[in-house]
Amino acid sequence: MAGPLGKDLLGLAPLSAEQINLVLDTAVPFREISERAIKKVPTLRGATIVNLFFEASTRTRISFEFAEKRLSADTVNVASQGSSVSKGETLVDTARNLEAMRIDMVVIRHMASGAARFLAERIESNVINAGDGTNEHPTQGLLDLLTMRDRFGSLAGKRVCIVGDVLHSRVARSNIWGLTKLGAEVAVCGPRSLLPNAIGDMGVTVFDRIEPAIEWADALNVLRLQLERMEAGYIPSLREYNRVFGVTAARLERAPKELLILHPGPMNRGVEIDSDVADGPHSVILDQVTNGVAVRMAVLYLLAGGRPELAEAAKKGTA
């Protein structure tokens, strides 16, 4: 029952611009469902979905669960902490067990890059990647794209700078693939120790300082700077990071134009982003969260074989 996206959503790298736009277009009518008093349509009634989270997640897991429930799917959450190696069961055995229970879809979050693909190649069910290691987080990429498209109309020719720990970020990779395919210009900005060595070959511009990045960009997607990066010695201190790369109101004031500010969350206020920016007029951080549910509903709908042209009808509960 492969729909227009194929069997799985593993990343934005394998998708075409048309497929990405299809998801974004489909998300728009679904967004309206969440604005109603009764936030539920019967589109996925009878479908079983497992949310398989091998890594801690609050926002993404809740967002997926709302998306599933608002489409009337039956959902089960499986949270499995700790490294996959230390766990008793292998991922391939987990996959076989899910298959044996005749699951329709699996949403997987895993600490290993390639884990979603690994699962998808071994089971018939649709697999949605909710973040695999440092590879991709495609639904986050899609919701970022939708949020920017809402504001810009089109992403073609727009300049987006991803700020921070690109090396360890699956959000950064999904953004780079998605934005590039939709015709945006992409830059990255962060300490060189947190950028992939080969970043220059990935078709993006590199800024070593935040000031010229702000001057260049139409939007900043500010990544979370994790404390363990400092502990692992990638940067000297969070304090210095904020002083050199922090997105602050003072720096934004000097920009020649108003910038859109995105952040995938959860934020470290005062580290990568200052509160007055996060809470300021150009922040679309909460719009991202709202769009997250809509985008995930669209992905679930399309993977389940839903026809994009019927999304309007699905919204009304008649399809």
Binding site: P196, I199, M202
Partner: protein, 431 residues
Amino acid sequence: MSTAVRDLVLRGGRIVDPSQGLDAVGDVLIRDGRIEACGGSLGTPEGADVVDVSGLVVAPGLIDVHIHLREPGREDVETVATGAHSAVAGGFTGVCAMPNTKPVTDNQAVVGFVKRQGEAAGFARVYPYGAISVGQKGETLAELAEMVQAGAVAFSDDGKPVESAQLMRTALEYARAFNVPIAEHCEDMSLARGGSMNEGLMSAKLGLKGIPAEAEEIYVIRDILLAKRTGGHIHLCHLSTKGSVELVRWGKERGINVTAEVCSHHISLTEAAVDGYNTNAKMNPPLRTAEDVEALQQGVADGTIDLLVTDHAPHHYDEKEREFADAPNGIVGLETALGVNCTYLLHRGLISLSQLVDAMSCKPAKVFRLPGGTLARGALGDVTVFDPQREWTVDPTRFRSKGRNTPYGGHALRGLATMTVVGGRIVHRVV
């Protein structure tokens, strides 16, 4: 293998033996496990077995100085016997088994055990490596002298580098008395730890932690300099980068006692094989870039790289069937190496047939002071007969090795060992 066997005449093959500067059609006669005569038309001694090998290459038995047998410790994955069987199926008459067994081959008892298991199996000759340090821990020098007496032909902590430069220096000095090489797995762990593929564009795209070329090269130059200081023989294992080739060239130009090997996979595949998180393309050192592959091929061609090896590393399929970062390193190689080397070096015109035999037989014997590597009268009756033109498709399910972990499954190769003779006995034959 000392039991008397009938005379064996290999008739009418193209004898390629660089140790004697020989490349001519002729016969080879093996008597009592040794080469009795080589070249020309030799007639048929009474009661001799005669095999017509016309149209095929007759070479001194191939030797792979870098393989992993999993015995003792992981007999479920490979035993000395299955590994030695796999070796002769690939045309190898001799193999050097790395010491990262469980327990580690770091004492005369285990060295003797591995050697005896090899003799009992009766396939390829198995020459054990001993560990440089006790338990491969990199702390205390192991008892090298006793291990040499028990049959160890070289020393290495392969799988791990010798992190202490002082320990490596001592090993190089101490081993001089026994005239055996110290073989290094070059990898700066502070740079490489956590990495699972080459660091570059592919690792950036796949979101996998990379191992930079410099992790290898820093150790290559360190060890060359220590060999210069000590006069010891450093042998550099499985080199994978262009920079390493340049550094070895630098060392050899200065007369430093350095030798080097390269694996068949590093002269044939690039990091592109990893795409899709293919764990059968995961190895250490990792597959590198096209530029590295080209430099390694050139290194073999100009002799900077002395030897071709496999780094044969069998793993259970369960262990490879998992997330890329968690899968073990290594691939099996004994049964594909000759085909890969023919396909990617010989048939591309990068090396001659003589060079191929030199890098897979004569030089391994010479560099590791092993018997064999020649068809001169009186030498071991170890012979590999192969058809460099024979085309075949790799089917891992047909391997004699217990391991199936190869990136070459389904690949078309040109070049196949058709007969392997060890001590005058035919131990493998393709009909």
